[in-house]
């Protein structure tokens, strides 16, 4: 059974620049998958296709058997929870509560359910006490967790995180690892933070130049120095995946 299935997805900008070239991949329910690649590989563009914010020139995307089209757009957007790279883009309402409530309210949940969902989403990231705060008064780690809560509140089945570790301090990063490893939702983590992916994702996909260039167990991919070097990916100094037992 597959949860997310993407086949032959291509996308070009109006000026003709090809950003995605026949991308195909499949993710099973409950999987946590890393999407790696250098800057400009097309990762963010790809992610914006998953819930139809950008529409492909060709190819199909389906989620739990439902194919993305104008008719299913709304339902797909509810099922795919996108966490943007900069939480200041994601958190646009005056309070944390109102922000987490934005999704469920739009997806038509009745008001009393919205409140319940906001509470349980914020509790599941451990930040219910921030409900009345203004987003711009939160720390980086708090913002990141609240941003994740904004998509959990709509019962997303696939969580897509774009560069979740950017601008986090080491403790915030560790808390994020702990949080994501406990969430049962299927996750696609877009990043070039290789140790982060190694810690969280048994499987990874490498994307470069708009194509999928590798797909396999994270440990194997990260041990392949030639592969990493060919796609401008680098392990931090002293980090050797062959010496560390994956989780």
């Amino acid at each position: 059974m597959t949860q997310l299935s993407v086949s032959d997805l291509s996308f070009s900008y109006p000026d003709g620049t090809e950003v995605l070239k026949q991308v195909s991949l499949a993710i099973s329910p409950g999987e946590r998958v890393g999407l790696l690649g250098p800057n400009g590989a097309g990762k963010t563009t790809f992610v914006l296709h998953l819930n139809g914010i950008l529409r492909a020139s060709s190819g199909t995307i389906s989620l739990g058997g439902m194919t993305l089209s104008d008719q299913t757009l709304r339902e797909i957007r509810r099922r795919v929870g996108l966490v943007f790279q900069d939480p200041d883009d994601q958190l646009f309402m005056p309070t944390v509560f109102a922000d987490v409530a934005f999704g469920p309210a739009n997806f038509g949940f009745p008001p009393e359910q919205v409140e319940h969902r906001v509470k349980s989403a914020l509790e599941s990231v451990g930040e219910w006490h921030l409900a009345d705060r203004a987003p711009h008064h939160l720390s980086g780690g708090e913002r990141r967790k609240v941003a994740i809560a904004t998509v959990l509140a709509s019962d997303s089945e696939l969580l897509v995180l774009d560069e979740p570790t950017s601008n986090l301090d080491p403790a915030g990063r560790r808390e994020l690892v702990a949080l994501l490893s406990l969430l049962p939702t299927t996750q696609l983590i877009v990043t070039h933070d290789l140790p982060f992916v190694f810690e969280l994702c048994p499987r990874s996909i490498i994307m470069d130049g708009g194509r999928v260039v590798a797909d396999g167990p994270t440990g194997e991919l990260l041990s392949n120095r030639q592969l990493l070097a060919a796609h401008r990916l680098e392990l931090p100094f002293g980090f050797d995946p062959t010496n560390i037992a994956p989780r």
Binding site: L48, I53, R74, R78, D89, P94, T95, F102, G103
Partner: protein, 253 residues
């Protein structure tokens, strides 16, 4: 800035005035300000009445007088302008200490100072006792079009973000020795303002994508409002009603 209680104008508290629904306070403020500006300048006793109302509210709100007065300083530019009026005004002169000043200008100055200060005072009191999100919710409850409320809310949300970007740009310029001496040196400032505009525009696009991702379809959905009781309306509008009565009396007498 204290904890999450956002803006510099707000004084955290639990007084009866803090607890009144924002929508009621907004209507009350509007009634009070309208009454003040509709009062003839010569009715000095009416302005004393308004001042008493404002002082009673201030005491009830438990906002310290010092906090209130420093925020009221926003009024100063108007006062400075008003103080010029007696000297530049035309018509018959009256003796005022060593100066002979225009009688009409003097009345105009008094009119401006009294009305601006009372209105600003009432607004400062609203801001001191009401959180920004509550003011926004109050506006939407008063059927202000959702798009306008949303624009105001985005402005408040992103003001600090954009100000932060501007601050970093200025530091980066200063770090590389930029120190404007003449008007000609202002070019980098203009260029960086343009860059800031582009960056904000791009952020707007990303925010819109984030809204779409969470199901935004052009309809702004606001949450349910807690009902406002009749006694809350009455309590909140009382100062406005008293002020309106004073205003009517001042116009009729």
């Amino acid at each position: 800035m204290s904890g999450g209680h956002a803006h510099a104008l707000h004084f955290h508290g639990h007084s009866p005035i803090h607890r009144l629904p924002a929508a009621v306070k907004l209507v009350g403020l509007l009634a009070f300000v309208l009454a003040v500006v509709a009062t003839p300048a010569g009715a000095v006793w009416a302005f004393s009445g308004y001042t008493v109302i404002l002082m009673v509210l201030l005491v009830l709100s438990e906002v310290p007088a010092r906090f209130f007065l420093t925020r009221l300083a926003i009024d100063l530019p108007f006062i400075a302008f008003a103080l010029l009026l007696p000297f530049v005004g035309e018509g018959p002169r009256v003796e005022l200490g060593p100066f002979a000043v225009s009688a009409a200008g003097l009345l105009g100055a008094w009119n401006l100072i009294a009305k601006a200060t009372l209105s600003a005072g009432a607004s400062v009191l609203l801001a001191a006792t009401t959180e920004v999100p509550d003011i926004l919710a109050g506006l939407s409850r008063l059927r202000v079009p959702a798009v306008l409320v949303a624009i105001a809310s985005f402005m408040i949300r992103y003001l600090e973000v954009v100000a932060g970007e501007f601050r970093r740009t200025r530091i980066a310029m200063a770090a590389r020795g930029y120190k404007p001496r003449s008007a000609l040196d202002w070019k980098p400032v203009a260029v960086s303002a343009g860059a800031l505009f582009i960056r904000s525009f791009e952020r707007g696009e990303r925010v819109y994508q984030a809204m779409l991702a969470r199901g935004y379809d052009g309809n702004w959905r606001t949450g349910a409002h807690e009902p406002i009781t009749r006694s809350q309306w009455l309590a909140g509008l009382l100062p406005g009603i008293v002020a309106a009565t004073i205003m009517l009396a001042s116009r009729l007498l």
